[in-house]
């Protein structure tokens, strides 16, 4: 028997085993979900943890637990569980580094792309691009008041720029000042700023003003440090607002960088 056939046979046997075991494990999962393991779905009440968060997200009557953000999801992402989000941005950074390493050659021999599509498509794409970017920035700025926030705005901008790359040409992307090296620099700088903002409360600790926690936003138990919670009468939610804006820039630059690198990678087979 040839090597190829032997390997195929081995794979075929393995497939059956895998499929059977998967079916069994997933049946167990379905049982858990439907047989009252999680209570009756959908439940009538919130889980207590969720209720505590929903009540405290904008709660001027309990200042030690609130984050002054009307959007509870934004409050969880950047305040209650801020460290998760910082790690997750780092995962995105690891992926960007990975793409840059794996597709190293696309740094060199950058050829200008084709001519793109017809003139009507081009001009309408430009208008749509501007509108989407403005809309996304609004999403980022209002992330703590309405649905939206850093990732949402950043991925929308990244998606728009990627579509522009396809509909127009690479030259256009370069002409409006988007370059891979620039994107990478922006990405690193803004990520450093995010980490710096997370560590800002420690300044008050160093100055001896009050005790402060990493990623602290408002006044907490045993600490008087606080970021601004209001801008005149509009709620600002302190670091949530800052993080949303910075995150928009990092995510947008990361996504554009990834798509640009994959799109400009040259070379079919090596033979």
């Amino acid at each position: 028997m040839s090597v190829r056939n032997r390997i195929r046979m081995r794979y075929k046997k393995r497939d059956i085993v895998v499929a059977l075991s998967l079916a069994i494990s997933m049946l167990a999962l379905a049982m858990v979900l439907n047989m009252g393991g999680l209570g009756i779905l959908p439940p009538r009440t919130l889980r207590s943890l969720a209720r505590s968060i929903v009540i405290n997200t904008y709660n001027p009557w309990n200042t030690t637990l609130t984050s002054y953000s009307l959007n509870a999801v934004s409050a969880i992402i950047w305040d209650y569980r801020g460290i998760d989000t910082i790690f997750e941005t780092s995962v995105l950074m690891a992926a960007v580094t990975g793409v840059a390493i794996v597709l190293r050659e696309s740094h060199k021999g950058r050829k200008p792309g084709g001519q793109g599509m017809s003139i009507i498509v081009k001009s309408s794409t430009k208008i749509v691009m501007l509108l989407t970017i403005i809309g996304s920035l609004a999403l980022a700025v209002h992330g703590h008041l309405t649905p939206g926030g850093g990732f949402q705005a950043g991925s929308a901008i990244g998606a728009t720029l990627s579509l522009v790359l396809v509909a127009l040409s690479l030259q256009f992307i370069h002409r409006i000042g988007i370059d891979k090296d620039t994107l990478l620099k922006i990405r690193y700088t803004v990520l450093a700023m995010i980490l710096a903002v997370a560590l800002v409360p420690l300044i008050s600790l160093v100055l001896g003003y009050s005790y402060a926690y990493i990623l602290q936003n408002q006044v907490r138990e045993g600490s008087y440090f606080s970021m601004p919670s209001k801008f005149f009468t509009t709620p600002l939610a302190g670091t949530v607002f800052v993080f949303n804006i910075l995150e928009t820039i990092t995510v947008a630059s990361a996504i554009t960088y990834i798509v640009l690198t994959v799109a400009t990678y040259e070379g079919k087979t090596e033979e």
Binding site: I7, R8, L41, P42, R47, N59, E88, V102, S155
Partner: protein, 138 residues
């Protein structure tokens, strides 16, 4: 009425589980790298969907998103809000998971390009054949 909602909802949740089975089947059984990545996408999307479904709830009228529309003037506004709002925690976790998923998929796709460059195919078994042949020669 409520029973009907509950049954329909359970069926919907089961469909997400079935989608996850389809995804895992593809991940472990398909041999094409891009097919594997597509299966991973189906799997992780259905998983995220499932968790949002876990966070859904029944309220007096239809439940509202976990976003306050106006600034509360009274502590009672907050309890009223908590009585109609859906669970915000799974939503926040899912947003995190979506971004993580995107970054992993982007990296795997770029690896797939490189794999094709070296092997001239996207079949994951091919390079194993080469390796076995090489080991046989030694």
């Amino acid at each position: 009425m409520e029973d009907l909602v509950s049954i329909a909802f359970s069926v919907a949740i089961t469909t997400f589980v079935i989608n996850m089975i389809v995804g895992t089947y593809g991940i472990f059984v398909k041999h094409n790298v891009i097919k594997k990545i597509l299966a991973l996408i189906i799997f992780s999307d259905s998983l995220n969907m499932l968790s949002i479904a876990i966070g859904f709830r029944i309220a007096e009228k239809y439940p509202s998103p976990p976003i306050l529309t106006t600034e509360p003037r009274d502590p009672r506004d907050l309890t009223q809000f908590a009585d109609i709002s859906v669970d915000p925690l799974p939503q926040a976790l899912v947003i995190t998971a979506i971004v993580i998923g995107f970054s992993v998929f982007a990296f795997l796709l770029s690896l797939a390009v490189l794999y094709y460059k070296y092997n001239g195919t996207l079949d994951i078994r091919t390079s194993l054949e080469v390796e076995e042949n090489e080991e046989g020669f030694q």
